[in-house]
Amino acid sequence: MSLTIDDFVQKEESTCSYGMDDYTTEAARWCKGCGGHGALGALQRMLRDNQVHPEEVVCVSGIGCSSRFPHYLRAYGFHTLHGRALPVSVGVSLARPELKLLTVMGDGDCFSIGGNHWLHTLRYNINSMVMVLDNEIYALTKKQVSPTSRIGTVSNTSPRGSYLEPLNPLSVALGISNISFIAQTASWLPGHMQATLEKAWKHKGLAFVRILQRCPVFMPNAFQGGSVDFPGKFLESPEGIPVDKGILRDAPVVAHDPRNINAAQAVAANSHMEKEPLGLIYYNPEVPTYSDIRYSKVATVDRKAKAKLLDDYLTRYSVES
């Protein structure tokens, strides 16, 4: 793709040198062992490596453990309501398309109470990286079964084991029109996670990244405890995310074409049954963003012209007596 005038305008001439501290407000207050620490660290490293201005980053979150994310990231942030991060992100992206938007949610937040917003925002394809930190449990409210909990999960609302098969967020997302980016990574794979976030960050459109993580307190055994035995398989493709197996002992690498929606759907559909796919599952950078679509139709009018135009409009309602 050739350079757009927006790219040109936003190009930086100044040299800055941001370090990790420039993206850190305070020590994160998540439990030790929590995957949130890893996700935050990977994001901060990615921002540092790309020398992103902290004031141009906006991190919107919902409610839940993961949604404390913006408080620990030195950037602008909006810690919204349970399930409602995405509408606020849509508002920010419509208001200020030039800001670098990041939306962080948990599995209950995004897939359950925020399900409707999730589906529709995927369809809007707003320009935002959307991270879902999925630990298969409601943690902040103290251990209730979540939409992604495996069947049989013992929780405070399902003490005899949960009753339903989990929701497959990857398959659902792939069923939405205008989907442009889906990737999956895991919090115990720092290298892969950072590479995934980087790829997502550079995507123009909604980059949906599901980050698998365990909850050391309420769901320590999610995803085999995030251990060397985690059954993952890496998706490899030339424009995909570089394979970085990290600690994994038993993770095959398979060729996958992320531009092929049918291949992506096959990978997603099997994710729970065999091995969790890691890497870029679907990618279509050609899908236009919602703000690009909308603003291509919106006139540029300065204050004077606007006042004049409104006055002209009022004439339509005028009554000469």
Binding site: H53, E55, R84, L86, G91, L94, H117, S321
Partner: protein, 621 residues
């Protein structure tokens, strides 16, 4: 033909089956009257379904036009003249008690000889009962005459009726034709010609059939006027206020404001975002405002209920937001197309915890326009949630008012991305006023996180008692400060007397007209309209104390004394009355009803007479 009768005003209705064209005929005739200088208020008569079964009471659809020789502030009393396409449409108007006892009814006589004997029978019954009650019935071969001009009389009848009414009210035929030509300007010439023929035929029909005609003189000496409904006024007012985003979800009767915006907002650099639900609609508006692009959301009662949690977040994060609620009947789905003022307490109090906010109510269509820039300014300067309570009466009614002056300065403040001084805080409350500066994302050095959790001046989450107390105080203080800048509300009439009627919102026109009549009768009654309900304006308690009795008149439910089980202790008051009682400790009485239509001045007038009579009786004892 006799000399036309000169009238000060007349209320005329056109009713038909839904989709038969009475609405089009009504709006066209109303516009024509507006153009010819009459004071005007129109009310839509809308069935709840899109295509209800025809020739039934539930199918009645049309327009009610109050024509006057002076400026009009409300829909007025009972209807003086009805053009009915069939007897069931007419019956529906009789059933809701909309017609004056001496109403003139112009009705198509084809039903008298209809093939279905049942129809003939009910036609006759309806008309007979009307005549016995004093109504005049003009049975005329409208459809037959119309069919001579067009193949499809059902489609062409609307313009035929416009022609007929133009004759009846002595409007100039050529003016009428050129006006209608303007409406159809974009249609093919054949269509325009057909409509011209229909108008002319209707006019001639009137000349041949009407034994009596009327003249309602135009209003003289007003500045240039515009005619629009309240939702259009809100839409245009939003543009005047500098809004650039309207985030909404379809709901009656609010949606037409967004239709209006959707039609031309993009030309103004703005856009309408139809969100996936009511919750998202407000969330998008909050996100946009927080990021620095002024956005509003427009909804009705059920939508307000859904938005409640987000509205609390707005208050907590001190994100400016204007939320317009075009009220309709409730609870639940209630009366979706009909007027009620039932959302006042919801607007004031619905929220998790205490969420102080500004609540304002426009009392006319003109105010629907002007209130938007003010609401936007207050929301931004006070970093506050402003709820604007309009209603179905304003939304669908149409009024003439002075053409607003468009001022560039009324537009919103441009995006401020100037660097933030080191150490600046997002809630750097001025301890006296609670006001603080907004820090928009993108401003260098200003990084902060908005959160619905309690936070300190720096926006950091804080669970300490004094921090929570302080935050609550600061958010509440802003209302007191706003209150200190408000003027005491105008009193319509003498500043002291027997009775003070207090109203809010769209009922002002009817109340003031009723009060004016009562004053003319020598009754010591005055009226007050409350525009700011939160915070309440200063001086109302003092004003109340100058009257023997204060009562609210509202279009919402209240228990009536004398009804079974109702006592002083358990009586549920009308909503404004509850607020006024709580805030002034004055024993404010109330009169409210929920008929699903606007108040009529005659009803309020009746209440005034009754109350003053009661006061006198009481005094006598």
């Amino acid at each position: 033909m006799k000399e036309p009768i000169q009238l000060k005003e007349h209320i005329v209705e056109i009713v038909s089956d839904a989709g038969e064209g009475a609405q089009k005929a009504g709006t066209t005739f109303a516009e024509l009257c507006a153009k010819s200088g009459n004071g005007l208020w129109t009310v839509e008569i809308i069935p709840s379904e899109i295509q209800p079964p025809p020739h039934t009471v539930g199918s009645a659809s049309g327009n009610r036009i109050r024509l006057s020789s002076r400026p009009v502030t409300n829909g007025g009393d009972l209807t003086n003249l009805v053009v009915a396409f069939n007897e069931m449409a007419l019956l529906s108007r009789i059933q809701v008690g909309a017609l004056a006892p001496d109403v003139i009814v112009i009705i198509d006589n084809m039903w008298a000889t209809h093939a279905d004997p049942q129809i003939c029978k009910q036609y006759r019954e309806v008309l007979d009962s009307l005549s016995t009650q004093g109504g005049q019935v003009w049975e005329l071969p409208i459809d037959a005459a119309c069919a001579k001009v067009t193949d499809d009389s059902a489609k062409g009848k609307n313009m035929f009726i416009v022609g007929m009414l133009s004759c009846l009210y002595n409007k100039d035929l050529e003016v009428a034709k050129s006006f209608v030509r303007g409406i159809f300007a974009k249609k093919p010439p054949a269509v325009i010609q057909k409509n011209m023929d229909l108008i002319e035929a209707g006019y001639v029909f009137g000349m041949n059939h009407f034994s009596q005609t009327f003249v309602v003189a135009p209003v003289k000496g007003l500045p240039e006027q515009v005619a629009m409904n309240g939702n259009t006024a809100i839409a245009l007012g939003s543009i005047a206020a500098g809004y650039e985003l309207c985030s909404m979800y379809p709901i009656t009767p609010a949606t037409s404001a967004s239709h209006e915006l959707a039609a031309f907002f993009e030309d103004f650099g703005g856009l309408v975002h139809q969100a996936e639900d009511e919750i998202a609609a407000v969330g998008v508006a909050i996100g946009s405002n927080w990021a620095g692009k002024p956005a509003l959301t427009i909804t009705s009662g059920p939508g307000m209920a859904l938005k409640t949690e987000f509205l609390g977040l707005t208050v907590m994060t001190e994100t400016p937001l204007v939320c317009v609620n075009v009220q309709r009947g409730g609870p639940s789905t209630g009366l979706p197309t009909k007027v009620e003022q039932g959302d006042l307490l919801n607007a004031l109090f619905a929220s998790p915890g205490d969420a102080p906010k500004v609540v304002m109510a426009p009392s006319s269509i003109e105010e629907c326009y002007h209130i938007m820039p003010l609401a936007r300014k207050i929301s931004e300067e006070f970093r506050a949630l402003v709820i604007v309570l309009s209603d179905a009466n304003l939304a669908t009614g149409r009024q003439l008012f002075a053409r607003p002056k468009v001022v560039e300065d009324m537009l919103t403040t441009p995006l401020d991305l100037s660097p933030v001084e080191a150490g600046a805080k997002p809630f750097d409350w001025d301890l006296e006023t609670g006001l603080s500066q907004r820090i928009l994302p993108g401003r260098p050095n200003g990084m902060w996180v908005a959160t619905g959790l309690n936070h300190n001046e720096a926006g950091k989450i804080n669970y300490l008692a004094e921090s929570n107390q302080k935050g609550m105080t600061m958010r509440s203080r802003k209302l007191a400060v706003l209150q200190s800048t408000l003027k005491a509300p105008e009193i319509f009439g003498e500043a002291e007397g027997d009775l003070l009627i207090v109203g809010w919102g769209s009922t002002r026109g009817a109340i003031w007209e009723a009060v004016e009549r009562a004053q003319a009768e020598g009754l010591r009654v005055s009226a007050m309209n409350i525009q700011f309900i939160s915070p309440l304006p200063p001086g109302i308690k003092a004003a109340f104390q100058k009257f023997k009795k204060v009562m609210t008149v509202e279009l919402n439910y209240c228990d009536r004394m004398g009804d079974p089980y109702i006592t002083e202790e358990n009586r549920r008051y009308a909503q404004l009355a509850i607020i006024l009682r709580a805030n002034t400790l004055v024993d404010v009485d109330c009169w409210g009803m929920v008929p699903g239509r606007p108040l009529m001045p005659c009803e309020v007038h009746g209440v005034i007479r009754q109350e003053i009579q009661a006061l006198k009786t009481k005094k006598g004892i």
